[in-house]
């Protein structure tokens, strides 16, 4: 675990965008019986998700969120020194989507732009990478974009993943200001478990072919997917989760000399009601301090933390607030963070 701290950098504003298209999970029954679907949906607590219409990409969701952020906060685009796009559902294999977004958003040539390929921990990673680059005197204002169309990554015929994922995008404005004080991060990378969540076909190791696109029955339960769709070894992911996450959260609290009571809100990656319920019980957290968007957006990967802040904490963060963020996912990767928000500006969520 790597422990990082920064001074006088923070989140000034957040804006989120979601697709208009609402999926009612109880009615997502084209491949499974209504009874079976109901059992799964009740357990995971994901009742609705948003699916981007054909032709809408993660970058389009981020574009909409960023334009709203610029308008609501009267931002001069010429002042954006850095823009980072975090996603595993880019527009193209090349160039990096951040360059396309730079052009569409009308950001100047002196804006540094790049993509980060990461899933559920991608908001926390995006923050510490942006904060690190902001140690340079010339980088004063940055845009962190998190966008995913995870609904397209998994097979609708694989009951282990078919009901979990949704699409969303956010834009987060990060600025330097002494008022933000100190912020803290714990970062762990666990490549030994890289095969727990994976898409094995369609990259350069197993290039796209008729074979990688073929749907196959993959287990004794009759789940069906192709090698170009994601799989998740849920039990083993959960094992790692219960071993790593309560400990990571306790570690960041103790390293930074915080008590649970010092934290105003615990914003966790939204994976399933089951996992977040486990975490809240294990750490004996007051549920009113653990906002959730699982029921309406499902798991939106790296977007889940900022979209939960935008949706659930919209009017709950006046003045100064301490947030503890924590996420866990593909890599495997886990990360926690304690940040202070001061008069954070949260835009209304845009639908496209």
């Amino acid at each position: 675990m790597q422990f990082l701290s920064f001074k006088n950098i923070g989140i000034a504003a957040i804006s989120g965008a979601i697709p208009k298209n609402v999926i009612n999970n109880y009615e997502y029954t084209q491949f499974f019986s209504a009874d079976e679907v109901k059992t799964v949906v009740d357990k995971i607590g994901i009742f609705e998700r948003r699916f981007a219409e054909k032709g809408i990409c993660a970058s389009d969701l981020c574009y909409a969120a960023a334009e709203k952020l610029f308008a609501d906060n009267e931002i001069n685009k010429e002042e954006i020194d850095l823009m980072v796009f975090v996603s595993q559902t880019p527009d193209y294999r090349m160039p990096a989507t951040s360059f396309l977004l730079q052009n569409r958003l009308g950001l100047p040539g002196n804006t540094i732009v790049f993509d980060i390929s990461l899933g559920c921990t991608g908001f926390i990673h995006g923050l510490y990478i942006v904060y690190s680059l902001m140690q340079h005197k010339s980088i004063n204002k940055a845009l962190l974009l998190n966008g995913e169309t995870r609904s397209r990554v998994y097979s609708a015929k694989d009951r282990r993943v078919a009901f979990l994922f949704g699409d969303a995008g956010t834009a987060t404005l990060i600025e330097k200001n002494y008022k933000f004080g100190e912020s803290f991060f714990t970062i762990t990378s666990d490549g030994a478990n890289a095969d727990l969540v994976k898409i094995s076909g369609g990259g350069y190791r197993n290039p796209s072919s008729v074979e990688t696109l073929k749907e196959k029955v993959v287990d004794g339960e009759g789940n069906i997917r192709s090698d170009e769709q994601g799989y998740m070894r849920g039990e083993d992911v959960f094992n790692l989760f219960i071993k790593a996450i309560p400990q990571d959260i306790k570690a960041i609290l103790s390293l930074t000399k915080h008590e649970k009571e010092d934290i105003d809100y615990f914003v966790f990656h939204q994976a399933s009601k089951y996992l977040n319920g486990y975490l809240a019980r294990k750490l004996t957290l007051d549920e009113s301090k653990v906002p959730s968007t699982l029921s309406k957006f499902g798991n939106t990967s790296s977007v889940s933390i900022p979209i939960t802040i935008a949706s659930e904490l919209h009017s709950k963060l006046p003045g100064s607030n301490k947030l503890l963020l924590s996420a866990f996912g593909v890599g495997m990767s886990w990360a926690s963070s304690i940040i202070k928000t001061i008069d954070i500006k949260i835009s209304d969520i845009t639908e496209i």
């Binding site: 059992t39 799964v40 995971i44 009951r159 849920g234 039990e235 083993d236 959960f238 219960i242 486990y278």
Partner: protein, 75 residues
């Protein structure tokens, strides 16, 4: 922990299947209610009660509750 106690804890992870239906010989993966989320409840229960980690492969490698109990104790 006694096997009898383990069977009761195991049964508690199920919402619809009646507790009386569970015995050491129960082939749990064949129960209608069994799914990957029940497996998570079993993993969490074993972590709490035994402070031991069982994997997805461990669960798939056994048929009955007693075999799982033996597997946990051999760890």
């Amino acid at each position: 922990m006694e096997l009898k106690e383990f069977v009761i804890l195991f049964a508690e992870q199920f919402e619809d299947t009646p507790t009386e239906q569970f015995t050491p010989e129960t082939r749990f993966r064949e129960l209608t209610e069994w799914d990957s989320l029940t497996a998570l409840s079993i993993i969490a229960m074993v972590d709490e009660e035994f402070e031991k980690q069982i994997t997805g492969a461990d669960i798939r490698s056994v048929a009955t509750i007693e075999e799982l109990y033996t597997k946990i104790n051999s760890k």
